[in-house]
Each structure stands twice: as C-alpha cells, then as structure tokens.
Symmetry: C2
Subunit: 367 residues, 2 copies
C-alpha cells in the first residue's frame, strides 16, 4: 500500500491527530505525494542523455517510495528543447534536464559547468563540483534565475568529430563548414571556420551531401547510431573541445525548497547516482561501438596532429578570456576553474595519464 | 517530527487502523525505524576510507528521513578489522565497509572486485560494475556468505610507493622487503621480493629504521599524512598494482532483504553516491597534497622504468592465471574482467589517454 493511500484511507485517523497537540500539517506535508514535470533538451530515446533523465526520474520514485513522481517530457513534447531553462525558471514545470552551455545567452558563466575546451575531464570536473567548490559556484550562477542545478551525467572525453577531408594544419579550418556548438564552436570560428548549427535530425544528410564538411557529435556509441561513417571518411580524436561534458538536471527553486528535507536529499542522491551511471554507460557503450566502427565499418581513426592541437589551444585561451570578460560572474568562474585544473593537473599526469600510457601499448590501434 | 514519533504518538490512530480492513502491519513495517550497526576495516578518521563509510551512513539517514540509522564502528572498535566479513556474514552486524581483496582467503574471486594490477582504472571498473555485469558477478561471489556487496568508493590510480633505493630493473626487487598487500604483493613475491604485512601504525617506523626497504600506501593525500617523505627518498609512479581501488560496503543479506523496497533503494543510492564522492575527494585532495610534497618537501617523483613495468606485467599475468585456477568462480570472474577490459581499453586509448597526453605538457613535472 502506498503512503498516500494510507493517509487517504485513514482520513479519520489523521483528523483525530489534527485534534491533538501534534503538528498534523507537517506530518501530512511529509506524507504528501508530489507530482512533478520534467522537460528535457533531448530527442526522445536518445541513449544516456534522454534515457538518463528518465532513469533519474525512475530512481527518485523508487527511492522515495512513490512520494515524488516525476513525469519526463523529451525536447518539444511540452516545451521546445531550448525553452527548458525558461520553463523551469518560471515554474511552468518543476524540473529540467539539458546541458548548461545551452544557456550561454542567459548567463555566459553557465558555459564552464558543461565542459571547457582543453579543460577538465569527467573525473576532474566531478571533483571540482563535489570537492572543489564547483557546484556551489554553479548554484550561485543559477540562483538569479530561481534554479537549483545538479550534475546528472557525464559523457567522458568525446570524439573530435567526422571530417570529409584530412586535417593537417590549423589552416585547414579556414572556410571549413562544421557543426560544432558551444565554446568549441567559438574556437573554430576564430580559426576561420564557419560554424553551422543544425538540429540532430539534419546533420547526417547535410554531411552526406557536403552542405557541411565536418561534424562533431558525441562518441562512438552515438555516432554509430547516426551513421556518420557512411558520410565522412575520417574520424578524429581526441575531443579537445568536450573533454568531459556534464549533463545537468535543474529544479525550480521554489519547487525544490517546498520539498521536505528527505525528498531534497533524494533528488540530490538520484542525480549524483545517475551522474555515475551515465559515465559508466558511455564508457561501456563507447568501447563496444568503437570496436564495431573499426572492425565492421573499417573507419579510419586519426589523432589530430600536435601542431594543430597547439594552435587550437592558443585560440581556446583567447576565447576563454573573451568569454570571462563578459561579466563579473564569468570571470569568477573562469578563475576558479583554472585554479582547480592546475591543482589536479599535476596529479593527473602521474596517476591516470601515466597509467594509461603504461597500458596503452596493449590497446594501441596500431598494435 | 520524526515519522516514528508520529507513529508512537498516534498509537491510538494506528490501533484504529488495525481494526479496519487496511493491512496495518505492512504500513507499520514501512514506517518502522531501522537501527543498524556497520563495522569497517579502517582506522578511526582515516580520510575518505573511514570518513566515506561515515558519509554513507549519514546520507542513508538523511535520505531516509531518519527511518534507517546506521551506527558506524571503525576497525577494532566492535570487531577486529579483518573480522568484518564474518561479522556481517553471520549477522552479528548488518553492514560492513572495507575492500574485497581482504577476503581472498574466504573466496579468491573476491580479489578482482577491489583492483587488479595492470587492470581497469576507476572509470573502467565502475563501468564494469554498473554497465558491464561486474556487480552482478560480485553479488554471485558473495551470495554463499549471505552478503550483498556494493561499490562505495574508489581511490583512482594510486602511487607506486616509497623506496629507499632507486628501482632500475626488475632484479632490484630481489630481496627487497616491501609492505604491499593483495595481488600486487603476490607479484612482488614472484619477482623475488619479501612481502611484509604491517598494521598502518607500524609502517612509518619500519621504513624509517630500514626494517623494510619500501612501502606502498595510497596516494599523495594519505602518504603525506603518514610522513613517508621523511623516511624514504624516492616516490614512484604510477601505481600499476592498484590502478583504481574499489572500496566496498556490504550488507547481511537477511538484513538487506528485510528492508522495504524504498529503503533498499536508499542504501543502494547512498553507496553509489558515496562512490562518486570518494573519487572526487581523492582527486581534489591528491592534487593539493602532491603540490605540497613537491614544493614544500622536495620529494623526488620517479616513473617506474618501462622495462621494469613490462617485467611486472608479465609476472602479473602469471599471478592472475594462478589465482584464476584456484576455483571455478575465480576463473569466471577473471575471464569476464579481461573481456570487459578489452572492450573499454581501445576506447580509453583514443579518449582519456589521448586527451591526457594532449594536456600533459602543460602539467609535466619536467615543465
């Protein structure tokens, strides 16, 4: 039996309690069933992105024993994908899922909480959020919009993208028409490329017909599903522009604050748990998909040349400084991000990086 | 007001309910406050290890709104550190926290769920647990002992250890007295070293007096706290023997099964959330501590030479095959682990590994 049924059916009992010295309203509030709506920026069924948002909602219901039920709507089902921020901010719905860099137009500082080109990877950005003050800063950035953000997923290092021609030097970006959003797109513009923004459903056809010369998407699991290997020959790595993309869930502050403390703890736990789950899904799924791309579809993987990466890194530094100059909060976030990156960077070089290099020859694509 | 107070104080109301057609006992069971004891293998206050177990318990209480309270006892406070497995298995207490490789004597297959030399890093082993069938296998290994395991933390790649002399070739392990537990210790034995097992409190003095020539511990944050830099000159990396050490929480199966479904979901969520939290704590804390070791204590960091690592890897392969031959379950787990490592290995080489190498020069210790 559900708690709410218990309360409904024991209306008499509750009424009896209300007549005593016991604070009945708070008891009833605690036992109340909350029904929330959550809108996302993702297409229906998009693996890990949309299914991750749905997993989050399912877990909230399980963990709360049905006291908080969240109905999830994919992008466009209730509000347009890029209407998520406003819908949650205005309280039209209680929750939303997306990526903070979509909201750069609302507040430029939001961009740092998704991913920064040449910035922190998944392990690093999670450490920043949970143990380095990053989440607190994110809350500060979203507070003026009545929003409470939580990390809810991470893609890990993405792939560099699909190109119809080989990329040898930074000059090859001149005139290149590429689908690439966010800060990475700004860097490509600076390199002389033309950034094209396309809905997911139009990318494949545009690439196949040469309307665009290149596109980045996510990683092997999602790229395989899109069939890009049929439209472009070269698959570049690593994804310098999205080294650990964080997916967000955000709550309308009034809705979040109106929850009893234990339900607040429950949505926090389900978000953090889903963050861990999603990185695991990406890691396992990308591993299997990459093997299929290489062995079955004979895709040619190419590492971006060092000189090209160095040039992109220089342009990234300029781009980040320009973005940080847009307002005080962006500067504050940028400086905090840089400081934390420095703190974990040296450690990363002797731990994960050194270890990956030790096991690398075993898994070398050339091996 | 706590739910249990509500029920106690409304005994009359509950009695009234019991007299109706409503299934009162199930309602009462759901609203019951559970009080559990959890014993750990860790010393009191050991950062992230013991404090992680305590965080887990605290979060269970918060998320459950006080319906499940877990009192945590450090190693030796209620049962000896290595008595944790039996205490939980026999139901003396309901929960325990430690590392599965301590239970190799109970069931050799347990070793694969902590960490495997030259095996998966944190991102990889978590993907194995949550998205690759690893946790299901772990449950299978613990089931005969009435135990339900959950990952509850991960150290990330550890350091290789502190040595009083330089390690140039595999021959340097001959006669070397080193404190190193688990599978890594078995490999060092095979290399001709003498593996010494010491309680945490005796390691520093033994190293300082030359009773042992080397020790591994955890990483910069914990090693700094132990003061090893005062007793040994060379700090080696990477920790090939513990590339992503998983900390466990385990529940007595009868106790776990007796919880209502939502409380089961709550302990699962708190464990998964604490797993994410702990890796973040290690990442942030190790970054800060490593900088202190280098700049303040002038510690010399040295990468193990390639040839030495290759020799250790060969001995590791032999060791793992011998351990896998011990029983059917060990063989099953070993084969599953190897297969998953292969699946994510190629992906790791073009994602995290390639990305770390791109940003490495920025953070190079030589830079």
């Amino acid at each position: 039996m559900e708690r709410r049924d218990f309360l409904k059916k024991t209306g008499m009992a509750a009424a009896a309690v209300a007549g005593t010295a016991i604070s009945a309203p708070s008891v009833l509030a605690k036992e109340k069933t909350y029904r929330w709506k959550m809108v996302t920026t993702w297409p229906p069924n998009l693996p890990v992105f949309q299914t991750g948002a749905e997993r989050f909602a399912k877990r909230v219901e399980e963990i709360s024993g049905g006291r908080l039920k969240i109905k999830v709507f994919a992008g466009g089902e209730l509000v347009p994908p890029l209407g998520v921020f406003d819908a949650v901010s205005q309280g039209t719905v209680q929750a939303g899922s997306g990526a903070s860099y979509y909201w750069a137009g609302k507040t430029p500082a939001a961009q740092w909480f998704t991913t920064v080109p040449f910035g922190l990877n998944a392990q690093g950005i999670n450490a920043w959020f949970y143990s380095g003050g990053g989440l607190k800063l994110w809350e500060e950035v979203y507070a003026p919009f009545n929003l409470v953000p939580r990390p809810q997923g991470n893609s890990g290092v993405q792939m560099g993208g699909w190109f119809r021609k080989k990329m040898n030097t930074i000059a090859d970006y001149k005139g290149l028409k590429m689908r690439i959003p966010g800060l990475g797109g700004k860097v490509i513009s600076k390199a002389g490329g033309t950034v094209v923004l396309l809905p997911g459903g139009e990318i494949f056809t545009s690439l196949e017909r040469g309307v665009i010369d290149a596109t980045e998407w996510v990683g092997p699991m999602h790229d395989l599903r899109m069939g890009f290997y049929k439209a472009a020959k070269y698959y570049y790595y690593p994804g310098w522009h999205e080294p650990g993309t964080c997916l967000e869930v955000m709550f309308n502050k009034k809705a979040y604050d109106s929850l009893p403390k234990d339900l607040q703890a429950i949505v926090d736990a389900a978000a953090m748990e889903t963050n861990m789950w999603s990185l695991s899904q990406f890691e396992a799924g990308n591993g299997a998909a990459l093997q299929e791309l290489i062995t079955k579809h004979k895709v040619e993987l190419i590492r971006f040349p060092d000189d090209l990466l160095d040039a992109l890194r220089k342009l990234t530094k300029e781009t980040l400084e320009e973005e940080a100059d847009k307002d005080k909060m962006s500067r504050k976030v940028h400086e905090a991000f840089k400081k934390f990156k420095e703190q974990v960077g040296i450690w990363g070089s002797v731990s994960e990086n050194a270890y990956y290099n030790v096991i690398a020859d075993k898994f070398s694509l050339k091996g």
